[in-house]
Symmetry: C2
Subunit: 477 residues, 2 copies
Amino acid sequence: MELHVVINGRKDLAGQLYNQLRSAIESGRLAAGTQLPPSRLLAEQLGISRKTISDTYAQLTYENFLTGVIGKGTYVNTRPAKNQPKQSHSQLASAEVIESWRNLPVFLRHPTLEGSLRYDFIGGATSKGQFPQDDWRRCTSHALRQIAGSKGFYSYAEGLPALRNAIARHIAFSRGVNCQDEDVVVCNGAQQALDLISRVMTRPGSLVAMEDPGYPPARLLFGTHGATVVGVPVDAEGIEVDKIPDGTRLIYVTPSHQFPLGVAMSQARRVALLERARELGAIIIEDDYDSEFRYEGRPTDSLQSMDEHGIVAYVGTFSKTLLPELRLGYMILPPAILEAVVRAKQLTDLHTSTLPQWALAKFIAEGCLLKHIRRCHAIYAGRRERILSRVAGDLSPWLEAVPSVAGFHMSLRCKVPIDMPLLVELAKKVEVGLYPIEPFYYQRAPQDGLLMGFGAIETLDIDPALDRLRDILQQLS
Amino acid sequence: MELHVVINGRKDLAGQLYNQLRSAIESGRLAAGTQLPPSRLLAEQLGISRKTISDTYAQLTYENFLTGVIGKGTYVNTRPAKNQPKQSHSQLASAEVIESWRNLPVFLRHPTLEGSLRYDFIGGATSKGQFPQDDWRRCTSHALRQIAGSKGFYSYAEGLPALRNAIARHIAFSRGVNCQDEDVVVCNGAQQALDLISRVMTRPGSLVAMEDPGYPPARLLFGTHGATVVGVPVDAEGIEVDKIPDGTRLIYVTPSHQFPLGVAMSQARRVALLERARELGAIIIEDDYDSEFRYEGRPTDSLQSMDEHGIVAYVGTFSKTLLPELRLGYMILPPAILEAVVRAKQLTDLHTSTLPQWALAKFIAEGCLLKHIRRCHAIYAGRRERILSRVAGDLSPWLEAVPSVAGFHMSLRCKVPIDMPLLVELAKKVEVGLYPIEPFYYQRAPQDGLLMGFGAIETLDIDPALDRLRDILQQLS
């Protein structure tokens, strides 16, 4: 590996080298602190004499562009870099992106960039400080040993066999999902599962049905594949199956814990949905994103375990049970689409990084995941109780909870008209992060409400936060 | 987190529990060695008496489905599981994948599955046993500390700022690529870079031009987006620019080290290519997959650094310099497509796993990558020398090397007609893995040849392997 310098011909070698190094330093391309190659090596590389190199280094050192450290080498000096901006848009050629990719919204903010609020009811964030560092570190050491012994080639598109086995056992135990290791495909979180299934099932103009309200990144994603996305209303029993239009190829649902409302799909509705999909020749994506956390009632069967026709693709993620930024998820695929999805995975990024895969396989196999879920479950249950009790109490003039038995968010409905943008703004001023349910609707929301995530907020912070919310609601009334 | 059991009504609770546990064990859903929940916990979960649970466990233990270990718990016994195969294809509903995803070839084999050959000239594999374990372990510890302190939310679609900075500095130094941190987008290897750029630049029917011969996974990928892929011939100076058809939106090239032939694109051809792309309003993907390893001559400028119109997307990977299975790569994007590609990254998998990202950022910043590349460079240079000297020597009646100055594979041309399938078969019998160049051609190959990778084969194995090759060639003559 070499410093990038281009020498043309044999004339004024020192001048050519000087000009290139100086402009690389001035432009910031060679940053302060960068070590230059020893003159002997650079001389070999460029096929010019060592003396020419040393003279050039000496000149640049004299001019304060470089510093020589005896016994260590020659380094670029700290100095104000001239920023050379890239050409402006007006100079660009006519190359441009296709329409469906223009002006897409940013749908997941960076809380770290925006500065966190003291009391944040954001959804989808796992409990800070609960990450099982020691167990994960031990499993990562195991992963490093596996990688060090690898063959230096690519791994399996479907995922590591050890991880597919661990996942199959885990979900058989916890969710009653009926599968063999061979049905499991590892991917980069649930979002990639949606992408891969959509790629093999839809073409421009295909109909995709999904719950309304629903998960915006799914809606946007299906749209970029050219699909026509139809929002199907959700009632207290889940998606209104009779409103799924004819011609639908793909149906995206969250039956255990509807996103964002939180309702569970009734047994009757599940049976109807399976029957409707069979009749349409459609594939159902069952996104079971957070149902490991379940607080009351008996578990319901997954759609996957009720499926007798091979039409359900079950999607799970470790973003909720472990950590979102690990980007690990999986699919349990029916035979009709399994092979095509594996090819899609291979063509889009070959396979998921093996470092987190090995670590997770060990983490599940040793029981660390179960242990971690149990611990978080207890924490989330406490937070949920606290919110429910306040909503049933002093917040009850304004808000009511939508029934929900799982996950780590719930939704609240407004019982009286509330100026939501103003509520959010006033709450933000007192360090409370609130998230209206309205943006999750495809059509107009029938009723205002709030999505209340309880992953990020500490248990002891809930009461002070809801005190502030109550004060604002009183003020707005 | 709970064992998945569904109880209906209040009748025959013990019978319901018994039947479900037994069938879960018989079907293999509850695997041998799985620990069942303590009766107290399961009783709470199901809302039935603890005695009902204990009685059921006792019955199943008596029937040898379970084993109780005093002080530890109740476990599923090892016994021949009845395999319950999933329904056959004939029973499936009419759901099926779209045409472009049917019957795609498997393009990257699993060498571990197929059993490695003693002497393997496979391309794309990095040198086994050279992985810098200790440095990488230290950098991974750093990564774990970063993750443990994270906010439990998603990270940046573009990649971690620390890694984007490290990459920008690395390629400015090593490849003269002119960029700011903001132009860098981290992705899962070069394959994902091609996918994301193609997503935002092509729609069904769009023209994509690529070198012929070329990289098959790229060709297949562009095809699955519905693009019409045109193979443009390659001569000794690189892609034949005047054969790039009108209407082309995307041009995929490997200028530093043409894949698979190995030739470098001439300066004149580079200028012509940039001019042609500008005229077309096309984006050029410059895939610079292995040019950190350079053996002779002076470095040439990257297309990216010659680009004055913002039409070159530079793609790099750490699969060749570090390890393929880490799945880490990057793009340096022109302003016209940067934002759309970041959205595409976010919609397809939100972002790349932060665990390997943090580790790599540290690894580059501490100089470990440069050190590692220098060490591998020396090893690969020795292997390359060995092959070149044999090809110029006793293999010269049959083979000649295509000029190439970089990377860790080269290509050899057949000087006389050789029965290639027979050659490959005979070589395999004596543990030598050979790879004909012909499958990399889109149209008919003008001449037979071999792709000779020297990442996987040890230096001392090259002579014995080429002795065997010579013996077979003599035998075939």
